[in-house]
């Protein structure tokens, strides 16, 4: 069929707009990389890039789990405190059980907290915000209580060097992070089990009627998120060789912002782990850039709050538009 030049041009333009809409976070990431390389002469040094990767590792691992939860239409506000608790457990039990066993205990505790979250949300049917808020306060009290609000220093040199030791030039912790990204992306996007998380998030009632065990997927998502938070806590404790009740203070906020920035909708039913990776990278670079440019911590607090509101507004308008177009072509009424 004959296509005129003008048609071709408009189609190219339309494709370009579609591309931007789909990969906005990618564009944002690339833009930030260019901006920071131009305005800061330390940004592109290998040391800084390695630091950046290590910095985003903690929040990134938590964000993988959070992607699952937000895809199912929920939220987990307790992850930051689970990171702190897990770091405290790892370092605190090191002298009694050895680092490997204490790490395993921390992971199991994380899994238990997540399962508790999931049970309260799926079985008792409490709003996920309230459930995870309550669990968050509970875990915070527990962590502050067992440490007496003081940080603990680690004593095991092998454990202390694990996260920062490099293999193929990349720190171990970041290698784990990248491997998890790839595995979880494959699981969510290309396996039938993974696809069911989208079904549950899109419409719980319909999924239940279609014979999907909705509760199982909900509990699984929350348990996995807390497990990831515990893993992030272990790796962070290994990196700084300290267990502290106040680390992970902003983790919840950073993680939620990066997941939504990565294209996962708060309404549930859509999103990818790869998008989350770029969201995490963007936020990490923003943080890194602000540090390099010498912007105070105070302003970073405000910027986090503003970013959260902006990202939610963006999400809202995007969903509103999709709904409208779906209505127009008759998918929903």
């Amino acid at each position: 069929m004959f296509i005129s030049v003008k048609d071709k041009e408009t189609r190219m333009l339309r494709d370009l707009v579609m591309f931007f809409r789909k990969y906005n976070v990618l564009v944002l990431t690339l833009g930030l990389i260019i901006f920071l390389s131009v305005f800061s002469n330390v940004f592109t040094t290998p040391q800084n890039l390695k630091n950046l990767l290590l910095q985003v590792t903690t929040d990134g691992i938590v964000a993988i789990g959070m992607t699952f939860v937000i895809i199912t239409g929920g939220i987990d506000l307790s992850v930051g405190k689970v990171v702190a608790l897990s770091s405290v457990i790892v370092i605190g039990l090191q002298n009694h059980t050895g680092s490997l066993v204490s790490s395993l205990i921390a992971l199991v505790v994380g899994l238990i907290i997540g399962t508790l979250n999931g049970l309260l949300i799926a079985k008792v049917k409490i709003n996920p915000f309230i459930t995870t808020l309550g669990i968050r306060i509970f875990v915070e009290g527990l962590t502050l209580g067992i440490t007496n609000t003081r940080p603990i220093s680690g004593t095991d040199p092998t454990f202390a060097s694990f996260a920062t030791n490099t293999a193929f030039g990349i720190p171990n912790a970041s290698l784990i992070f990248i491997a998890l990204i790839l595995i979880c992306h494959y699981y969510l996007a290309y396996t039938s089990h993974g696809r069911l998380f989208y079904a549950v998030g899109g419409n719980k009632e319909a999924s239940w009627l279609a014979g999907i065990k909705v509760d199982k997927y909900l509990i699984g998502a929350y348990a996995f998120t807390s497990l990831m938070a515990a893993l992030a806590g272990v790796l962070l404790a290994s990196r700084i060789n300290t267990g502290s009740p106040i680390i992970g203070k902003d983790t919840d906020l950073i993680v939620i912002i990066s997941v939504i920035l990565g294209g996962t909708s708060m309404a549930g039913g859509s999103g990818t782990v790869l998008g989350t990776f770029f969201g995490v990278l963007t936020l990490g670079m923003l943080n890194n850039g602000m540090n390099l440019l010498g912007i105070y911590d105070f302003y970073q607090t405000i910027i986090l709050g503003v970013l959260l509101v902006l990202v939610m507004l963006f999400d809202h308008f995007y969903i509103a538009r999709t709904k409208k177009s779906k209505k127009r072509i008759g998918i929903i009424n």
């Binding site: 939220i75 309260l120 008792v124 049917k125 409490i126 709003n127 915000f129 309230i130 459930t131 808020l133 309550g134 669990i135 968050r136 306060i137 509970f138 915070e140 009290g141 527990l142 502050l144 209580g145 609000t149 906020l253 939620i256 708060m266 105070y296 911590d297 105070f298 302003y299 970073q300 607090t301 405000i302 910027i303 986090l304 709050g305 503003v306 970013l307 959260l308 509101v309 939610m312 507004l313 809202h316």
Partner: protein, 334 residues
Amino acid sequence: MSELNKTQELNKYHSFNLTQIVSQNMIWMVLLIAIIFFSFTSPVFFTVSNMMGILRQSALVGILAVGVTFAVIGGSFDLSVGMTLGLAAVIIIKMNPDNLFGAIFSVAIALLMCFLIGVVNGFLIGKFELNSMMTTIGMKYIVWGIILIYTKAQHVWAPTMYPSLKAIGVSSVGNIPILVIIFALTVIIGQLILSQTRFGRYLYATGGNKTAAFLSGINVWRVMMTSFIISAISAGITGIVIAARVGDVDPSFGNGREFDALTAVVLGGTSLLGGKGSVIGTLGGVLLLGVITNAMTILGLSINYQLMVKACVLIIAVAIDVYFSKRQGNKNAS
């Protein structure tokens, strides 16, 4: 069938129904049982000075909780109140008013700031229908950052505060602290607004079913905005009272007070699904929380473990609320 249902409905409202009376006044009975129980466990609990202490402590949570009740009845959460009250307190203390004009001016500025925070919250949540919890968490961080910049992250104190302003926090009329009088006034005014004004009716309607409220001609987003303004202003009043009481604060001291307020509101029988609840119930919740906190302190539980107990109380209260609403839903459906 429908005749039968109608008779049952009428019977439900007109006959003496023990279960209903118990379930409606559960909070007061639990409060009574708690007071009796703790009086037996500890000799210092049931003394006049300790009871006054509980009232004074409860008043600080209570003024805040009355405001939060409005937001929750409207079907949303307000988690920014903790930082909002911090901002109000910091403004009063940083301005350090030493004459009448200065005192009035600083109070006005503090309340104005809180009003603005309420407006922004209400606009984002009411107009754009953003998730209230996430929006107010974002607002919390924004206000926190403003406080940190304003105080340069330093501890602030007011050495020469105007005596009459200071009196709000420390002195008492007869035997009753002014703090408690302010709390009582807030409860009365709040309850009157909820049950006697048009706005109160609209708020219940909005919280119960937003679409239905909109279709019946209620300006939904303006109602929600008003509820957020009320909760922010109540946070402002709490902040001013605390500033007058202690005279020096940390930049992040308001952090976490929103959980106490939310717990008290839920304990008082206000449903988190919206459309149900009362300020009088919140009063009961505040007193129960005050009694539990006081008893834990007397029994020597550290403040960190108190946090854990409070979290359990919050979750259990919400679970009970969900259980009862589900049963009611089933009844209506059948």
